[in-house]
Amino acid sequence: MPQPVILKSNPHGINLILDKNLPFGELKQEILKKFKESDKFFKNARIGLSFEGRDLSQAEECEILELISANTSIEIVCIIDKDESKDAFYVDKIKEFDEIQSGRTGEFYKGTLRSGQVLECETSLIVLGDVNPGAKIIAKGNIVVLGSLKGNAYAGASGDENTFVAALDMDPVQIKIGNVIGRSADKGPLLAIKNRKKAMEPQMAVVSGDAILIEPITKGFFGKNRIR
């Protein structure tokens, strides 16, 4: 019969490999026995503990910890999670996050955003309408406005400075990409209205150094500029 409890050391502490089928009461006894055997070796050690081979509830983990601290001189400073399904879950999450970050997925919003309205998005965002002064759009990915951007836009909201803001008519109050903020030139509001461009000129804002750079999207723009 294989050992129900195995102690295995790793760089951070001890890996406790537990038998899957043994009733919890018996398992506790086995754990106690194991630690008693090696108590002298571990004397006053400060270690991290991880569990393997068996799904433990929080209560069961606590019981084991109490058992160890009550009967040995070992001080357990932390518990390290080592669970394959959890690992896979995290890997998936990280991958998903990366995908969002690189702007590969997106959402559409149809309609004009007026003063006071805020649109937040976990992915990239495409607005089919105008964004008026006083309105705000926030996306973790890129932002594209198929209309006039006259309000505030915040791309790469979780800090990604490789994102961009593009609009058919770029006249924003403020653009933020990652942690870089750019604001419009200081001109009176009446002048801003009187001087507005009559024809639409699509433009794209990206981070360049520590500033926001806005460039017109002309023919061949994407040939010259590689969009990350």
């Binding site: 955003l113 003063s115 008026n132 209205i193 009187k194």
Partner: protein, 263 residues
């Protein structure tokens, strides 16, 4: 079919009450049965502009609280028997009424009147929520100033969120001389920014101040503002009326401007 129209702006002092008084009176001149409701509880003044302050016995809060019947609180206009005013309470505040009560009240009035005009208070708080609760249609009043336009934009967003889709714009207090000099936004500028249907433009006119002080709406008079308001009334009824030429040399208003220029 009766229609409930809220006159609103967000910003104060742009001419909501003057517009309500004049549009309401104008619709009455066009033989419609009209009731005006002042929803600005605590800051009552539609009755003053209409010249009906001395006739108030009961008010909106009395009706809602059941102290009187609607009929008792309605004040008949001096000139037009088919025009009524439901005045606001001066000694209470906006929390005295809730949107459900407004809806119920307005529904009762729908049976008898063609048009119910709600004069909305400034702001976006409870008073605004009360006023828009029962509305089918909204008239947004704005002056050609950036602050008023910004607030109007916010109001339009809130109205759309409340599923009021018929929203029309009145540009008030235009001064064509300033527009020509490029010191004021034009109707086109305002219209382009707010991107909703324009139902009328009213010039800045001394006659408005005079009529307000007299408690007699000037709609329909030969002043330029009076004509502009009457045109708005025609458009509310669905008629196609071309925009008034605010540079009209024959208008009283431009005579004043002319006097200015000579000096």
């Amino acid at each position: 079919m009766s229609e409930v129209i809220v006159v609103t702006s967000g910003k104060g002092g742009v001419g909501k009450t003057t517009t309500t008084a004049n549009v309401g009176t104008g619709l009455a001149q066009l033989d419609k049965k009209v009731v005006l409701i002042d929803t600005d509880i605590g800051l009552r003044n539609l009755d003053v502009v209409m010249g009906l302050e001395n006739r108030i016995v009961y008010n909106l809060v009395d009706v809602v609280e059941g102290n009187c019947r609607i009929k008792q609180a309605l004040i008949k206009d001096k000139k037009y028997p088919n025009l009524c005013l439901l005045p606001s309470a001066q000694t209470r505040d906006k929390s005295s009424v809730n949107p459900e009560q407004m809806k119920k009240l307005v529904d009762e009035l729908r049976e008898e009147y063609d048009y119910i005009l709600l004069d909305c208070p400034a702001g976006i708080e409870q008073g605004f929520q009360n006023a828009i609760a029962a509305a089918d249609r909204a008239l947004i009043v704005t002056t050609p100033e950036v602050s008023a336009i910004r607030d109007a934009d916010r109001i339009i967003g809130l109205l759309e969120a409340n599923e009021i889709s018929k929203i029309e714009l009145i540009v008030n207090r235009l001064r064509m001389d300033m527009v020509k000099r490029g010191d004021m936004m034009s109707i086109e500028d305002v219209h382009e920014i707010l991107a909703i249907d324009l139902i009328g433009a009213v010039p800045d006119d001394e006659q408005i101040v005079i009529s307000t002080n007299q408690g007699e709406p000037l709609v329909g008079s030969d002043s330029l503002a009076g004509q502009a308001y009457l045109n708005i009334c025609h458009r509310i009824l669905g008629e196609e009326v071309p925009l008034l030429d605010l540079d009209n040399k024959n208008g009283v208003w431009s005579k004043f401007v002319g006097l200015f220029k000579k000096n």
